[in-house]
Symmetry: C2
Subunit: 243 residues, 2 copies
């Protein structure tokens, strides 16, 4: 945690002694009255907080000075086949660390309907994973997360946004390496599509091609979904001059 995120803007904050953020300040950072730490407002500015009391078992009181600048999201969004929950947790954290604009999950033909029933999605845990990823990255931006019952059902939603660059990762059929995909370094929005663990169905491949996606591969190796996603996002971000 390189920064502690708050959901609401306030110049004074009181954290109960058992709030995970208070525990982190007390036990991991070992801070005392008068010490300062980095904080952030979700989708807002960063700030500096000063501890107004010693955090020894009491509620912890913070005074915050907020900055002006609001960190920009990365111009890349992700369209992903809904993976098993353990993979989804990693994806949520990594995509928040990388500052993605949106994450659109769709139930893929080669996915499992049970994935959607995980407590990850019902109990707000998905949001905590995003917070952790942003806090790691010293960022305040949280990707907007949405769910669709199929790839086709997601089409109207991603047509609302002008994604002039659309590219899908497909190691099985594509003959073009992602390094050959052309992106200008003007930070225009890009939508990256990644299939679920078992890959795309033929119908999904056709849908992607019909809606302007270029399909590209990441070399000969079969990478785990989260590794392939980080790799593809990094290659595109580097093409945009962002990495």
């Amino acid at each position: 945690m390189n920064l502690i995120l708050f959901q609401k803007r306030s110049d004074f904050r009181k954290l109960p002694a058992d709030d995970p953020r208070a525990v982190h300040i007390r036990e991991v950072l070992g801070m005392q009255k008068g010490d300062r730490l980095d904080v952030g407002l979700v989708n807002g500015p960063r700030g500096r907080a000063i501890l107004l009391n010693n955090p020894s078992g009491d509620a912890l009181r913070l005074k915050i000075e907020w900055g002006e600048e609001i960190p920009k999201p990365c111009p890349i969004s992700l369209l992903a086949g809904l993976p098993r929950p353990q993979t989804a947790r990693k994806l949520l954290r990594e995509c928040a660390s990388l500052g993605l604009g949106k994450i659109m999950f769709f139930e893929a033909e080669k996915g499992e309907p049970s994935y959607k029933k995980s407590k990850l999605w019902s109990a707000g845990e998905w949001h905590r994973q995003l917070m952790q990823g942003a806090e790691q990255a010293f960022s305040t931006h949280l990707p907007e997360v949405s769910h669709f019952p199929s790839l086709r059902a997601a089409l109207p939603d991603f047509d609302k946004d002008p994604f002039p660059y659309r590219v899908g990762v497909d190691n099985y059929e594509s003959t073009m390496a992602l390094s050959q995909f052309h992106v200008n370094d003007d930070e225009t929005l890009c939508l990256l599509a990644v299939g679920p663990e078992r890959g795309w169905s033929q119908d999904e491949r056709n849908t992607l091609r019909e809606t302007g996606f270029t399909l590209a591969h990441l070399g000969e190796r079969v990478l785990r979904m989260e590794t392939a996603t980080i790799a593809a996002l990094s290659i595109i971000a580097a093409k945009m001059g962002l990495m």
Copy 2:
């Protein structure tokens, strides 16, 4: 596991019923007598195995037909500050999946001497992590892993190899993005240096510069060591046309 790796070449194999590979074939793949699966020889060719008996509690017998071609390693090697064991496990798996040539760990000034004492390094677990990464990637190549007590102690070893490209990730001091680092797409060997979780010391930065490393950053975000490593390796591999 997309392929099962063996350490020794043999045309017939007998796997005890409790061998993890036998358990995987029986319980995850649910295979029966006559079924075929992909296998590989460490640093050798891939092959196809046929099950000679039903794997119901007995030792499992395989007949293997070996291929000719030996998968090539990726021309990138990693020089990494020894991280805490949980991070090292992920790095070993990911680097094996990506097919790196070598992984050189050094005890960094901002690392912890206790990291080296983990059972990860004493009990052969590091080797199993490499095997898992290669099996995931449908690869047979295992990176060569070595350890050094400091960055300086590693110098003679990485001077033995002709690494014409040397680049280090440094998000704190570098003003050049990794995307600006020039690599020809001729697959010449590249050595990527990544600091430990807490970053480089000034002395280590000087050592890198003196030994021909360009320092480059990965953007504004603070990425976890394993995420930064995957990102940097992918960007370099894409510059070489491998991804």
